[in-house]
Symmetry: C2
């Protein structure tokens, strides 16, 4: 079959593209996308984030960006974060929250495609894509139009017992994209008094599920009040936490 | 405008009907519905649960019910749980998980209406309805066809900073249904070593948000590994926890 991959804007020179996927919304996919971008930027690389989660565009908020993106005749400029990460999101293009009900699949996929073809990204070593949630038509269409080099799967502990990892692995293999790792978000809580790791949804099954699907790397994030407040106050770039080290080796 | 309320099956004599609503899926609405049913049953009342969450019918699983509901010419019988709670759910009528994508709004609302008109509930003091998630057309249509005496709003701490409580309160008042209380689920975690309450998403804003919207009663549930495993193993009826006391006074 003919490739549906489209060329990026002529003003973009993009290295590795990493998609962050999840089975459904609310499991922390945007947070993990932001953390991956922040840690990669700290390592000195040129980093970009494409917020392709059109019905839930929460990336600008985590980075404390309230401005509107600017553009010229031939393209749109991403907005640069406090530490120099280039970001594009629907929330940087419109003033008000759009009604998620309005966004049908093809409309979402079309918007995301434009983030690839119409945004002047400049030189980027690593681009992280906060994918539309799920493993259905919408993320699939994005993978068909944008060349992605690897995916990271994000799941909650309750989700891991379902089919999400299998579906995400199947979607990635269908598109010939390697799975870089599995992130079990909200896996445990560290007691702020005694430091004990409380596995709040029961013991973690992430390692066995990852190995069952041939995923070599597993990262586990705690529910961390500091993370929640960093996202709310737009200060994700100041946040420290090495839970994701090893995912992008 | 003419009332769209429909009569229940002639074999049903139902007392109070309480709807459990949430802004979106995954915040614990089904869990709270199950807990309310269990605690009301323990107080000696005749209790029923209508699992109206058609795309996510998780009530039978929490109660450990794997049988198929039976029926006669004139109606369907609910399935009785281990402690005598009468339950109806799509998962008790079909063998396999249905594809949520298939369920358009009118189809969901129609199915729920049938749970009211075609199920022979018998004598019920309290019926709890695990509502379709959200505050849009689907739950609204359910409230237009089934006479509900009160609603309980379930939200996660991250959701509370958004518009969910306002939207739920507006929906309830539009339908002239009193709001019995607000449940902040996953509000904190009790350390299993030292007993400290860790507020994992930051300090709770539930009390101020409830009072801002004229909601008198607030309940807060911790993330509890015992709750998660009770749901998974079908033993919710053996679970103890008094966090919801006071919601249904
Ligand atoms: N590990 C965590 N600790 C604290 N808060 C979290 C964590 N993961 C997610 N959250 C919070 O949960 C909410 C949902 O996360 P988000 O990344 O937007 O999910 P998704 O992109 O999957 O919809 C956000 O408010 C975020 O701040
Ligand atoms: N307070 C809690 N402690 C532990 N697990 C919980 C808690 N609340 C919800 N869960 C788990 O989270 C998942 C989603 O809960 P559920 O009640 O099905 O949400 P909803 O009905 O809103 O979609 C379930 O697996 C449930 O067992
Ligand atoms: Zn402790």
């Amino acid at each position: 079959a003919e490739s549906l991959l489209v060329q990026p804007h002529v003003g973009s020179r993009i290295g590795k593209v990493i998609g962050v996927v999840s089975g459904k919304g609310g499991v922390g996919k945007s947070l993990i996308t932001s953390l991956l971008a922040v840690m990669t930027r700290r390592a000195g690389y040129r980093v970009a984030v494409m917020d392709a989660d059109i019905t839930g565009p929460s990336i600008p908020r985590a980075f404390g960006l309230h401005e509107r993106a600017s553009g010229v005749e031939g393209g749109i400029f991403p907005v640069e974060s406090k530490t120099g990460i280039e970001i594009m999101s629907l929330n940087l293009l419109v003033d008000h929250e759009t009604d998620p009900v309005v966004w049908r699949g093809p409309l979402i996929a079309g918007m995301v495609k434009q983030f690839w073809t119409d945004v002047i990204w400049g030189d980027v070593d690593y681009m992280f894509i906060d994918m539309p949630p799920g493993t259905g038509d919408v993320p699939l269409t994005v993978f068909q139009s944008i060349p992605v080099d690897g995916v990271v799967i994000v799941a909650s502990p309750q989700e891991l017992v379902g089919m999400i990892v299998e579906k995400a692995v199947n979607m990635a293999s269908m598109m010939h994209i390697p799975v870089l790792g599995l992130v079990e978000n909200m896996s445990y809580v560290v007691c702020s008094d005694c430091g004990k790791k409380n596995y709040v949804f029961g013991e973690s099954h992430a390692d066995e599920i990852a190995s069952k699907h041939g995923i070599a790397t597993v990262a586990k994030l705690p529910i961390d009040p500091g993370l929640a407040s960093a996202c709310d106050s737009g200060t994700i770039e100041t946040f420290d936490g090495n839970w994701l080290d090893g995912l992008l080796k």
